[in-house]
Amino acid sequence: MLEILRKTIKAGCQTTKYPAVPDIAPEGFRGKPEISDKCTFCGDCIKVCPPGVIWFTEKSGEKTLSLSYCGCIFCGRCEEACGYGAIKLTQEYELASKTKEDLITSIRSKL
């Protein structure tokens, strides 16, 4: 019993102040993929995405590339396949949302 008390005091408080103090993921962490305007709409990332959560839509000549975090498994294959450095995994991991629509990111081709 004494030993337990001693160890408990020695261990102290282990929990961090998160979310009051942000908890930054380490370098190399595979989090939220983001698409930048370097995108050329080549479609390579669509082909390699294992769960198929990247897609094209085309409406009156305007192309949109969308990615849904709902099904994303953060594998980083899109980043690997993109020859233009347009898609990158970030250290962001706080993705909770109330609707699925909020979990979609898109980029539109300029007319």
């Binding site: 030993e3 337990i4 160890k7 408990t8 261990a11 282990q14 993921a25 380490p26 370098e27 190399g28 962490f29 595979r30 390699v48 294992p50 769960p51 498994i73 953060f74 594998c75 980083g76 690997e80």
Partner: protein
């Protein structure tokens, strides 16, 4: 040719129709009428365990189904695979379950998935196709389209009944308190002691093996990785190894070292989590809190090393996708702190009478039962089964390192705890060796196309031996059989709880560390 094959040939001469050897796998095509005798001979006389039984639908090629019985020979790292042919018009074959108990679920699985009937099976009830699934619909047959939605039908599942004065039934599940997957446990008790337990699983069968046949090979590794969440690395590595064997690839030594490090990190966090779970289940919250803190330390180390707490996204056919992050020294330092704290924690646990009292002699799994059911991994080793794929069928870089295979004879919750604790220390040792000797060089070889062929992949996951058998054709997966360790181990719980009291069930269950999702694919 090895001595076993010679003696099988001598014993059964003309009944062995064809012999072919590929890598370390010898396939013997035999007459189906003789399968019971031959399996019995290999299992009892040559003393080789059956590690997997699976069927394939080869009607497109020669109009028949095939069943494969895989035996493992640890002495020379080889496999003997008996193969029988079953005609579509007469889809029956003799059951071997009466001779080899561990064949039980495999034969029932084949019956549901392929519609091949094991004649003389002692318990021919459905296993995975539930009673509301129409008769005659078998999902792994090639003519079953993956999009099929069969109509629901009426039916009933009959449980074994234990009757007598004062015998009560306690149904538990399939929905449990807490975030775990579904499974039904039906206890029969006479007073406190459990006199019978029947388990029922496969409530969320996902059709993973069918999915494999419908996705491209480069994406399949990510599917394998997600079969059993906390055994991700083991599944991914096993899948990749089978593919690399088919393609005849030798992966770079650095990749092999990295795989070894990942596999051992996975073992460490799983084993510590199991020990934390056991402490939780005996309400020893001090121990549980400290063990969970250690587990968190390992997960954070994983994150620094691979960018993923569960070590995902690292493996690929041909090696690993990225190098390990963090410096060698930093990893070694973190590990040595974790190991030091873990050792202290284990000392605490073993000097706490209230914990020891609950786990010693509890949930005993006797060696003969464990052997009969082919119980694998640390659970098997705690019941005296001296088997470890890292030593018996070495892969990755294990051949180059020294480690002990921990075996205990007691077979109780305590033994399973100790085996895991000692394995954690061995794993730390393995990672240290792998880091010290980490070779320079490439981490992957490029693979464009997988040739047609078939091969086994095998690996010692934290829960025990994991097996994949893959056949490829036209750069696609034709068949991918996945055998998770829990498929072998689940039935052991029906024996481990006997004569124990109901309140000890959670501890026994935890100590067996059974995966729902790995089993229920």
């Amino acid at each position: 040719m090895n001595a076993n094959i010679e003696s099988i040939k001598k014993e059964f001469n003309t009944n062995v129709l064809e012999v072919s050897t590929l890598h370390n796998e010898t396939y013997l095509t035999v007459k189906k009428e003789l399968i019971v005798k031959m399996c019995d001979y290999i299992y009892h006389h040559l003393d080789l365990p059956v590690v997997c039984i699976f069927a394939t639908d080869e009607r497109k090629i020669d109009g028949s189904f095939k069943i494969h019985y895989v035996f493992s020979e640890a002495r020379d790292d080889s496999f003997i695979i008996l193969r029988i042919s079953i005609d579509e018009k007469n889809p029956k074959y003799p059951s071997i379950t009466n001779k080899i108990a561990s064949a039980n679920w495999y034969e029932r699985e084949i019956q549901d998935m392929f519609g091949l009937i094991p004649q003389g099976h002692p318990d021919p009830r459905r296993l995975m196709n539930f009673e509301d699934w129409p008769a005659g619909v078998h999902p792994l047959r090639k003519d079953f389209d993956i999009k099929t939605k069969p109509p629901r039908v009426d039916g009933e599942y009959i449980y074994r009944r234990v009757e007598g004065e004062g015998v009560y039934e306690i149904p538990v599940g399939p929905v449990h308190a807490g975030v775990i997957e579904p499974g039904h446990f039906r206890f029969s008790v006479a007073g406190e002691p459990i006199i019978n337990l029947e388990i029922r699983h496969f409530y969320t069968h996902k059709g993973v093996e069918k999915l494999f046949e419908n996705i491209s090979i480069d994406k399949a590794v990510f599917l394998a990785e997600r079969i059993s969440g906390d055994n991700s690395v083991a599944h991914a590595v096993t899948f990749c190894q089978a593919m690399e064997k088919i393609a005849g690839l030798n992966i770079p030594p650095r990749a092999n070292h990295i795989r070894t490090i990942l596999l051992e990190l996975e073992r460490i966090y799983n084993h510590i989590a199991d020990i934390a779970g056991i402490a939780t289940d005996v309400a020893f919250s001090f121990g549980a809190a400290h063990a969970n803190k250690l587990k968190e330390d390992v997960l954070q180390l994983n994150e620094r090393v691979t960018g993923s707490r569960l070590l995902r996204g690292m493996n690929t056919i041909g090696g690993v996708r990225r190098d390990i992050g963090g410096s060698k020294d930093e990893i070694l330092l973190s590990l040595s702190i974790i190991q030091r704290d873990f050792r202290k924690l284990m000392e605490h646990l073993s000097s706490t009478p209230s914990l020891m009292d609950r786990i010693e002699t509890t949930g005993r799994l006797y060696n003969d039962i464990a052997k009969g059911l082919h119980v694998v991994g640390p659970v098997g080793r705690a019941s005296g089964i001296d088997r470890d794929m890292r030593r018996d069928h070495p892969y990755a870089a294990y051949k180059e390192f020294n480690f002990k295979v921990i075996v205990s004879k007691a077979g109780d919750v305590h033994a399973r705890t100790i085996v895991r604790a000692d394995e954690v220390c061995e794993s730390v040792g393995l990672i240290e060796q792998a880091l010290w000797s980490l070779p320079e060089g490439d981490i992957r070889v490029k693979v464009d196309k997988i040739p047609d062929g078939y091969a086994l992949g095998i690996c010692e996951a934290p829960r025990g031996e994991t097996i994949y058998w893959i056949r490829t054709s036209g750069n696609k997966i034709e068949r991918c059989k996945v055998r998770d360790p829990s498929f072998c181990n689940w039935l052991s719980i029906e024996y481990a709880v006997l004569d124990n009291i109901v309140p000890d069930f959670p501890i026994i269950n935890k100590s067996l560390s059974l995966s729902y999702s790995g089993n229920d694919m």
